[in-house]
Symmetry: C2
Subunit: 397 residues, 2 copies
């Protein structure tokens, strides 16, 4: 299969590109390297020493004998060039990771709010318009987020995979309707993914586009069977207050002797998935794309759920790190339960990687190995959800 991976240089995009190439697909990465530029803007680096994209691709060719192509292109800003790429490369599928993906970064300032909306919404819409314009039959697999659903909305009912059947009262009695699960975005970033959903719905209906939307949980881990084959293939490990995701941040904090930073009570329950499974889920989604005329196919891309404070305790037990509670910069419920349907990937053969599979130790060891690369002034998040909210100070200045 010929696959374009938009955002293929990023945290999920890179290991997915390697996984698909390993499976024998013809992979072309399209990326504007914005994630590396944001590192520069924030004055921070991946804890792991990631190689430039050209070196990554050369290393992969050396160790695997397989070629990945790379095109430096901004899908939000270079529409005509992107259409030309589609017409030239004639892909069977596009995997779309090319969105600004940090909620705290999206709430940092007017500038980052606007960048997140403009980049994510324009990029996604350009992809849809370009495929229609090309007249080709190209499946889209898009990375969404569990955050589109909100938390605690549906009482004791599990969060369904995209669609919810509800009863609508009418003068003739209740009628059943299947709806997209109502959108309950918690940040500008999450909001853009709820806008994506409505654009997908329209283009699937109006133009018969074949679209899969994957509502992913919080990714943990760094390495996959491909990224470990050469240090030049190593994946990102974000530990900073904006881009670091909670479990990886705890492991890194423990590795450098920083307290584990829990925002609020830590009573938030979230869905998690290991980076290996992200790549496998994309593979499964590509092999099971909907047909033209079908509704958008939605999967929940989550393998386990944990309460944040329970994760902190798990990491504390593993490492001896202490736990501190910081003010919560988000507008969210202090505590929530989470019950997520995740039958679709399991039915299609996903064998989940869990926290008990020993990879927690692997992630801890990577954090330890590169601990000297950490900038301790970047660990605590400065982004707040609303003007005037309290931001924490550095704990280890």
């Amino acid at each position: 299969m010929k696959v374009l991976v938009l955002g293929g240089d990023g945290f999920c995009g890179w290991p997915t590109s390697l996984h698909l190439s390993h499976l024998g697909h013809e992979v072309t990465i399209i990326d504007n390297l914005s994630r590396r530029n944001i590192d520069t803007e924030l004055g921070v680096e991946s804890l792991t020493p990631i190689s430039p994209i050209g070196e990554r691709i050369r290393a992969w060719d050396e160790v695997s004998g397989k070629e990945i192509k790379f095109i430096n292109l901004d899908i939000a800003k270079e529409y005509d060039r992107f259409v030309d790429v589609l017409l030239d490369s004639r892909p069977d599928a596009v995997v779309h990771f090319a969105e600004q993906r940090a909620a705290p970064y999206s709430m940092r300032s007017s500038k980052t709010k606007r960048y997140t909306v403009d980049n994510n919404v324009t990029g996604t819409h350009n992809l849809l318009a370009a495929i229609v314009q090309s007249g080709m039959d190209i499946a889209i697999v898009h990375l969404g987020t569990m955050g589109v659903y909100g938390y605690g909305w549906s009482g004791s009912a599990p969060i369904p995979e995209g669609y919810l059947t509800v009863k609508v009262p009418t003068p003739d009695g209740d009628i059943e309707r299947e709806i997209l699960h109502p959108a309950n975005a918690g940040s500008v970033y999450h909001m853009t993914k709820t806008l994506d959903q409505l654009m997908f719905k329209f283009y699937a209906h109006n133009d018969g586009l074949r679209i899969t939307d994957l509502h992913q949980g919080i990714v943990w881990g760094t390495q996959t069977p491909q990224t470990v084959r050469d240090e030049r293939l190593i994946n990102r490990f974000d530990y900073d207050g904006d881009y670091g995701t909670v479990l990886n941040r705890f492991l890194m904090q423990a590795a450098i002797g920083h307290p584990l930073t829990v925002h609020g009570t830590g009573g938030q329950t979230r869905g998690f998935i290991h980076i290996r499974d992200t790549a496998r889920c994309i593979e499964i989604a590509l092999n099971n794309a909907p047909t033209s005329g079908e509704k958008v196919s939605v999967f929940n891309q989550v393998t386990e759920t944990y309460r944040v404070r329970d994760l902190a305790e798990l990491v504390s037990k593993l490492t001896g790190a202490e736990i501190v509670n910081l003010p919560n910069p988000r507008q969210e419920a202090a505590e929530n339960d989470l019950n997520v349907s995740r039958d679709r990937f399991l039915a299609l053969g996903l064998n989940p990687t869990t926290l008990s599979d020993g990879l927690l130790e692997e992630a801890r060891d990577i954090a330890s190995k590169y601990a000297d690369r950490a900038d301790r002034t970047k660990i605590v998040s400065r982004s707040v959800w609303r003007q005037g909210m309290e931001a924490a100070d550095d704990l280890m200045p």
Copy 2:
């Protein structure tokens, strides 16, 4: 009240600006004149000879003694300048009409799809981010569309004003939840208004912004008590295939001896409102803005519903024009009923202008008066909703 009217040079924006000025409010129009530029792009003009914005404002000053300010500014592209305008002018409210508003134009080409998304979504989000950044308490009144609901979705139940209470099944029995009415956009234009809704929901919740969203039907008529005071104040009358709205197009077609063009069976039922009532509804919405922390306040801005073929017959009876059926370029049900809740404006004192009030004849007379300005090659729409659909030829080449 100090009011900024974004898009105040357009078909709804201009008479609303005059109405608010007439009532004694301090009105500043912000407009990038894009609607006039699109006329140039399409090679068409308003049937009525509209004056340049500077002349409009001078004429209003002459006949009323009231000053309307004008700032040529693109809210989607000149964010920093817009923030400065907010800080300088310190408005109590912003009325937001500054969106590309023609469904056929939004479906014309990749370029117009992309323009509609970029202009409408970026513009609306810039407005929200700018108000948050300003730190000021500014109410927003936004013009939405009945098209966010779709047609025929809710069986015999009337379309509610924004929110729908549904029953969600859970293991503990059904629970009631109030949701935004599910979005069922019929064009890229309508889709942008469904994205606006989700951005409003987020900013009302996260930042306490005070937002009113008005889901308007199809506007008919041209003149208001203010626009008739001087010919230089005359409002737009769009008759072309992209921007002309159905009832006005029929009246204009009759005036020049063109057949009345019904797309498909004409079995589509739509909501209608006279342009006078648009201005009154904005006034009512400004006087009844929600308080900070409340959910977005949604009104259905519709006074009557008609089936398109019944309107054609009404105009045919009034004028003797013949009716022709053209292929329908839209992806929509051939026939639908429409039952719309519209209690909120009635409860707040709106006294609706109906088709039986004699204004149909006024609109016919305006169309006749300026009939010689019509370009007969622009009457039939060339925009189709999907590649390969049949577009009609001109009927009077």
